[in-house]
């Protein structure tokens, strides 16, 4: 592992000097912290983290290495990694490479050896904080100017599939609108024998409906939901026509499509220990979350949406259901990975409701 130094500079000028690992690119962007103690491989490859500099609060990252099975997309997606300590000699029977090697391969820079708990405190207190990981020769003032002027980019287009593909199955036909989908969503669907068609985020309503889906899933993904206007537009009409499940970004898009608004969270929720209450069953579950935005509750009153799940700690909306149409959505990740998939019954609930559609679409109930 290289032992060169590297810096992390925040928009307010706060500077951390640490050890470099991974790729050598200089990157800037919003910094978020994730509190999971296992699951760094899934997190790094989760498209919801696209363009985010990710700080792991757990101090030692990499102890079980990186394996070929636990990726959530084809490549590493975070833009930078901040850790207290990187483990260069992992131990696990499936481990094939180190995290350093993985990040090097994708030219994603990492910085280690800084007081990550202090940085977490700053992020917690200040909310959205931008920063830049760079080599020491980049000028500090320049970085600060760059960070202050930086605009939010359109990100979904960079993580969504560019053309549709099929994961065949004999059961229900599901179209997944890929906003930056985690592989685990596909796992959950294939485990339930679904016939899945994954389509790009900007696929039109007609194109989607030509697949005769029994139901549509709008996946998780990165960025501000309001930026993906095409998808919002498409979903607006889809809501009237078929059953929909939204997850993460997909949940926010449904809210926007149904007339509600979204807003930034004071501090992003990234981790796998968030308690969320199922309001109907009055039961709390531990969920995985990765979000910086939330549906603004005050904007729900003029819509046909009701709240189905709520966070017990910050009371944010964690799930919605449409009063008229078979449309449901959750802010958290029912598929886990990392974290528990104890809420994956949501897939079952959703799929069960599709039985009628399946018949109407000419599908067989029993293959």
């Amino acid at each position: 592992m290289t032992m060169t130094k590297r810096q992390l500079i925040l928009a307010d000028g706060t500077t951390f000097i640490g050890k470099a690992f991974g790729g050598s690119a200089n990157v800037s962007g919003e910094i978020i912290f994730n509190t999971s103690m296992t699951g760094y491989q899934e997190i790094i490859s989760d498209p919801s983290y696209y363009d985010l500099i990710t700080l792991f609060t757990y101090p030692s990252i990499g102890s079980y290495g990186v394996n070929r099975d636990d990726f959530e997309s084809l490549s590493a997606k975070v833009s930078g990694v901040i850790v207290k300590e990187i483990c260069s000699e992992p131990s696990n029977f499936r481990s094939e490479e180190t995290i350093d090697q993985l990040l090097l391969k994708h030219n994603i820079p990492g910085i280690a050896g800084i007081d990550t708990r202090m940085l977490t405190r700053i992020l917690r207190e200040k909310g959205a904080v931008k920063g830049m990981i760079s080599n020491l020769d980049v000028d500090r003032e320049e970085i600060i100017i760059k960070l202050t002027n930086e605009k939010e980019k359109d990100v979904v287009q960079n993580v969504s599939t560019t053309r549709p593909y099929i994961v065949p199955g004999r059961g229900k036909r599901i179209v997944v609108i890929d906003m930056g989908m985690k592989h685990q969503i596909l796992h959950e669907l294939t485990e339930r024998d679904c016939h899945v068609t994954v389509v790009p985020y900007d696929y039109s309503e007609e194109d989607i409906l030509q697949f005769k889906p029994d139901g549509i899933i709008i996946s998780n993904g990165p960025g501000n939901p309001k930026a993906v206007t095409t998808t919002i537009h498409t979903v607006k009409s889809l809501v009237l026509k078929t059953s929909i499940l939204g997850i993460g970004l997909g949940h926010q898009i449904i809210a926007l499509a149904c007339g509600a608004n979204t807003k930034r969270l004071p501090v992003g929720s990234f981790g796998n220990n968030f308690p969320v209450k199922d309001l109907q069953r009055n039961q709390t579950w531990i969920t995985t979350q990765s979000c910086r935005y939330t549906v603004d509750e005050s904007t729900l009153k003029d819509t046909d949406l009701t709240i189905s799940y709520r966070s017990i700690n910050d009371h944010t909306i964690q799930g919605l259901a449409h009063k008229i149409y078979p449309v449901i959505s959750v802010q958290f990740q029912p598929e886990g990975a990392p974290g528990s998939n104890e809420t994956n019954f949501i897939f079952d609930t959703f799929l069960k409701e599709l039985a009628n559609n399946q018949m109407n679409n000419g599908g067989l109930l029993h293959a």
Binding site: F33, T35, S36, M37, T38, G39, Q41, E42, T57, Y58, P59, S60, S63, Y64, N67, D69, D70, K84, E85, C87, E89, P90, S91, N92, F93, R94, I114, D115, T116, R117, M118, T120, R121, R124, V267, G271, N272, N273, F274, P275, K277, N282, Q283, T284, W285, I286, I312, N313, G336, A337, P338, G339, S340, N341, E342
Partner: protein, 1066 residues
């Protein structure tokens, strides 16, 4: 969901005396539970026979019964108090077993008492190995192939089917008592035979060995709404095969991917749901290092040692939450006490690494079997927190107080390669040091991995420490290197060793260069939410989170891991001191490293620093806090030992001065002190030259008492009767040096007396005198102590008071002092002065009603005893009699001799009280786990010097209707005096012999005294061990025997002969 309003009075069952496998963690959980229930408005009745606990303080529960934890006594309590419910899940295995027994006795139904937390069905399903297996089958969860047997033959048959190695586990025993691994038929037969006896249901589980798998634990909580969470998972460094209680453990897991973690998490939650536990539960799992194959090892349907650890490791107070759940509250409505803003329904996130290391008693039991296996041997444990594994581990190692705290044992330098390999293969208590040593010698990680099956990741971390050591050694006083290794937890002592300089020099060097640690919070949420809990650990990083307040503050040093000689009593005193400091309006800061205890509950003090108790670490905290001073009186020898170093670095020691401590502890100064005060002590000398040992002993006159100086709990102290024994002794102890002298004392027979006094510098107040049943020569911690004294005259008591007052005045004691006397024919000999809180503080506080540690702390902080209405006197004695009994863990410690002597061996204590000594003793003995047989047989086999006395005892046994057995010599002596006695053959003779009658349960008592010297494995030793292993009462002291006879006598009727004229035979 609201709490249950149908119940109002709850009986909480404690775990009783401390034994290996069931220690202070249940004081912590019990205390939390009682407080938690009171918070909710319930009336709490507590039953616990362990007086050394905080939970038995009258402030913790509404009513406290320190009665024996048996069905008999609990039934009385239930009938009297009529509680609506029982909470048995916080009193360890004892609590659960009692709940089952109470139910079976019918009392619960009779008094309509409901069980909270875990249903009987669940207890049985989890604890009964067969039911557990059936449940696992139903749930489709894997357990290693196994069979339940009730006979040795069945065990052998099963073994033939599945092959060796096998694990034997007796059902319903504590900490794996009686279990073990066997590689062949002979071992199997032996262990099973034993196990069947020890199991209350005569059942053993024979199981395929899965040694070498990763051992992983999950601490889970569930509520009645079926909401369930994992508080923490933990990975054992030592793989399956070594009891988790004896393993080094890291939290959270280190080598598990999220997938493995989720797999095991899911199983754990499935189990707690299947058992429908409302509260906490511990799930132990084994995971194949090379696949996803896992097995369930066991489920403990209650809070446990691991849950105490998990609570301290995460900040999530499991017992407190479990108690609330037991009365119907649910996780989503209970506030997380550490953040104060979020709910208990979440899974803590850690941003540090926690290490737990067990503390073993083998510094005391030098000849004990030190090998680690499936049966737990540790008496206590420490926990350390750091920002990487190396730091956490090294902090943990110095918290153990082994040697000088370095990951280095000098005595390993001389052992051979072969022996190292052997010790790696058969792990013992020094395993971590052996691994470090093997790595230093150049053994590869691979080699060590293949022998130990310890995951290479952990070995690499240890190796990293060794590599860093090499790097350090290359560059003396190199700042960058120093800064770097400090981040990996190196201590000044360790660096000093490598730079061949002193700890002091390193400290100065750091001081000059401003290299100090910062403090981070333990907050359950990895910094994601602001936390208010004042719970800190140190690390070398940038931002310090421990902010000094303006308030005046006092630091109290805790007593570290529980070990023989320094038990939970010191934690009790520490907690009381903290309370007093708060009452006086100061900020109370505590430093300690024991995860099992009440003192390390962050809600006890104003600030908790979870740190090693070393000079270096304490100084760092002093630097951050700038207290008015440090109190060292309550943390046992651990804290006292730090006083000198602290003073040298300019820290104020509050209370009794360092000089006074030294005058009491330094042998020569102590002698001088007594001489000056005109007080008598046994003749004695401190010897620094081996040559004159024999002549000195001769001059003093045999028998003499010998021991190395400066030791806790009488380590390596022996009574030596002649020259030959003295020579044997000298071979066993470390070399005599000028700074480590050998002490030789005249041995005095007499009544031993323990006095604890409190002084403010003017008044000397003695809450009570305790008299020992056993004559001097049995360590005060191992003898039965009686309060108030039964055999002391008024004048002797006055002499004790006067002597105490003199000593207190001369030493200018401020706070507590403990003095031990021997009373010999009305003469009062002073044998020891401990200028600190002693083991008897909690007991005496409870029986006299004077909260001694609290009062002493107030004196230390300047309050006057006189103003509080105390004078120089012995507090008036009560009518009733209170006894404190030692409790041993000999079942767990194979090869440890059970003979009582000047070296302490007990792990815990129990109390008994009633209107007469006999009744009190009966209760105390019962509470200490002894079921007194009122009929049957007794085997007597004593040393020649004891025969005359033993005759009296034998005679009484005979008169009470017991059949006498004796070994030849003793039998002859007794029959010569006309006692009918059956002689039994020596060990090895084929007919009925001394061992066979024990093994076959033909005797109920064994009275055996030590023959001569301490040759391990003598016949006497085997007899004593055999008795212990078969659960037969073994009395090694004639005074104890007599006391028991009194009890039997008072509770039985003997057949009496009418002689002429209607006179009864004597």
């Amino acid at each position: 969901m609201p709490k249950n309003t149908e119940i109002e009075k709850i009986l909480v069952i404690g775990s009783g005396p401390i034994v290996i496998g069931q220690a202070a963690e249940f004081d912590y959980s019990g205390t939390q539970a009682c407080q938690s229930l009171k918070e909710e408005g319930y009336t709490v009745i507590l039953a616990n026979s362990n007086p050394a606990t905080i939970m038995t303080d009258h402030t913790i529960a509404d009513k406290v019964y320190m009665e024996p934890l048996t069905v008999e006594f609990l039934s009385k309590i239930i009938r009297k108090e009529r509680p609506c419910a029982i909470l048995p899940t916080l009193g360890g295995q004892t609590g659960l077993n009692l709940a089952v027994a109470l139910n079976e006795s019918g009392i619960l139904a009779e008094c309509q008492v409901q069980l909270l937390g875990t249903s009987l069905e669940a207890i049985k399903k989890a604890e009964d190995r067969e039911k557990f297996r059936t449940l696992m089958e139903q749930l489709n969860e894997p357990v290693p192939p196994s069979d339940i047997v009730t006979s040795v033959e069945a065990a052998v048959n099963f073994a033939e089917k599945i092959g060796y190695p096998l694990i034997v586990r007796p059902a319903f025993t504590l900490g794996g008592t009686g279990g073990g691994m066997c590689d062949n038929r002979e071992q199997l037969e032996h262990i099973v035979q034993n196990g069947l006896k020890l199991s209350p249901v005569s059942q053993c589980l024979i199981e395929k060995s899965i040694a070498g798998y990763k051992e992983i634990e999950y601490e889970v909580i569930r509520d009645k709404k079926d909401q369930a969470i994992v508080v923490c998972n933990m990975e054992n460094m030592d793989p399956v095969g070594i009891h988790t209680g004896d393993s080094i453990v890291f939290a959270p897991s280190v080598t598990l991917t999220d997938r493995e973690n989720q797999l095991l998490r899911k199983v754990s939650l499935k189990l707690i749901r299947a058992l429908e536990i409302e509260g906490g539960c511990n799930v132990q799992l084994a995971l194949d290092p090379y696949s996803f194959q896992y097995y369930i090892i066991e489920v403990n349907p209650r809070v446990s040692r691991s849950s105490a650890l998990a609570s301290k490791a995460t900040g999530y107070p499991i017992a407190k939450i479990a108690a609330k759940i037991a009365v119907g509250l649910t996780l989503d409505e209970i506030i997380n006490p550490i953040t104060g803003t979020t709910f208990a329904c979440f899974e803590p996130a850690l941003d540090y690494v926690v290490t737990k290391i067990p503390r073993f008693p083998f510094d005391k039991f030098v000849s004990g079997d030190r090998k680690l296996g499936t049966q737990m041997k540790a008496t206590g444990e420490i926990m350390a927190i750091g920002r990487n594994i190396e730091e956490s581990l090294l902090k943990g190692i110095r918290s153990l107080e082994i040697g000088n705290g370095d990951l280095y044992l000098q005595n390993l330098e001389s052992i051979s390669e072969k022996e190292i390999k052997n010790r790696l293969e058969h792990a013992d208590d020094e395993r971590i040091f052996v691994i470090a040593h093997a790595l230093r010698r150049g053994m590869t990680i691979d080699e060590i991995y293949h022998i130990t099956k310890i995951d290479p990741l952990f070995l690499r971390k240890i190796n990293h420490i060794i590599e860093l050591e090499k790097e350090v050694a290359l560059q003396s006083f190199h700042l960058e290197t120093l800064e770097k290794v400090k981040q990996f937890g190196f201590s000044d002592i360790q660096i000093a060793r490598l730079w061949e300089t002193t700890e002091e020099k390193i400290y100065e060097y750091r001081y000059e260069n401003n290299i100090f640690p910062v403090y981070k919070k333990v907050d359950t949420c990895a910094g994601s939410v602001e936390s208010t809990a004042p719970y800190f650990y140190s690390t070398y990083e940038q931002e310090n989170e421990s902010i000094r307040t303006d308030q005046k503050k006092v630091i109290v040093l805790g007593s570290g891991p529980i070990r023989i000689g320094q038990g939970i009593e010191f934690d009790y005193a520490t907690v009381h001191s903290v309370q007093a400091i708060k009452e006086m309006g100061y900020e109370a800061i505590i430093i300690n490293n024991n995860p099992e205890t009440v003192s390390t509950d962050f809600s006890v003090s104003d600030k908790l620093y979870f740190e090693p108790l070393t000079l270096e670490e304490v100084m760092h905290i002093v630097r951050v806090e700038d207290p008015i001073g440090v109190i060292v009186q309550f943390g046992g020898q651990t804290a006292i030992n730090l006083a000198e170093g602290l003073r040298k670095r300019g820290v104020t020691i509050l209370g009794t001065s360092l000089e006074a401590i030294d005058r009491a502890e330094d042998r020569n100064k102590f002698e001088q002190l007594l001489e000056d005060l005109n007080l008598t002590r046994p003749k004695g000398k401190a010897i620094t030259d081996k040559k004159i040992v024999h002549e000195t002993a001769e001059a003093i006159g045999y028998p003499v008492l010998v021991r190395p100086s400066y030791v806790i709990g009488g380590s390596q102290m022996e009574i030596v009767h002649d020259e030959e024994e003295l020579s044997t002794y000298l071979q066993k102890i470390p070399a005599i040096k000028s700074n480590k002298p050998l002490l030789i004392d005249q041995y005095i027979t007499g009544i031993e007396v323990d006095i604890d006094a409190i002084s403010d510098g003017k008044t000397t107040f003695i809450p009570g005198i305790m008299e020992h049943i056993e004559r001097a020569g049995v360590h005060s911690g191992d003898s039965i102590a009686v309060y108030p004294p039964q055999r002391l005259s008024e004048s002797v008591k006055q002499k004790c008071l006067e002597a105490t007052d003199k000593i207190v005045k001369e030493l200018e004691v401020i706070g507590l002092v403990n003095i031990q006397f021997i009373i010999h024919e009305d003469d009062v000999y002073v044998i020891e002065v401990n200028p600190r809180a002693s083991r008897t503080i909690p007991f005496l506080s409870k029986v006299t009603g004077i909260t001694m540690a609290n009062l002493a702390t107030k004196c230390i902080l300047g309050e006057s005893l006189q103003n509080k209405g105390f004078t120089t006197e012995i507090y008036p004695e009560p009518e009733n009699v209170y006894v404190k009994l030692p409790v041993f863990s000999f079942e767990k410690l194979r090869s440890v001799d059970t003979t009582l002597g000047p070296e302490m061996k007990s792990t815990g204590e129990a109390i008994g009280y009633d209107s007469t000594l006999e009744k009190a003793l009966y209760k105390g003995l019962t509470a200490s786990g002894i079921t007194i047989p009122f009929e049957g047989s007794v085997l007597i086999t004593v040393a020649d010097k004891d025969k005359a006395e033993a005759y009296k005892i034998a005679k009484r046994f005979y008169e009470l209707g017991f059949q006498l057995y004796a070994t030849e010599g003793t039998a002859k002596y007794l029959s010569d005096k006309n006692l009918p006695v059956m002689a039994v053959g020596k060990i090895g003779t084929d007919k009925k012999n001394v061992l066979s009658i024990i093994q076959n349960g033909e005797v109920q008592f064994v009275v055996n005294t030590l023959t001569s010297g301490k040759q391990p494995r003598s016949d006497g030793f085997r007899i004593r061990r055999e008795a212990v292993e078969h659960g037969i009462i073994s009395l090694t002291n004639l005074d104890t025997s007599e006391a028991i006879l009194h009890v039997i006598d008072s509770a039985t009727f003997r057949a009496r002969l009418i002689t002429e004229k209607g006179v009864l035979e004597a």
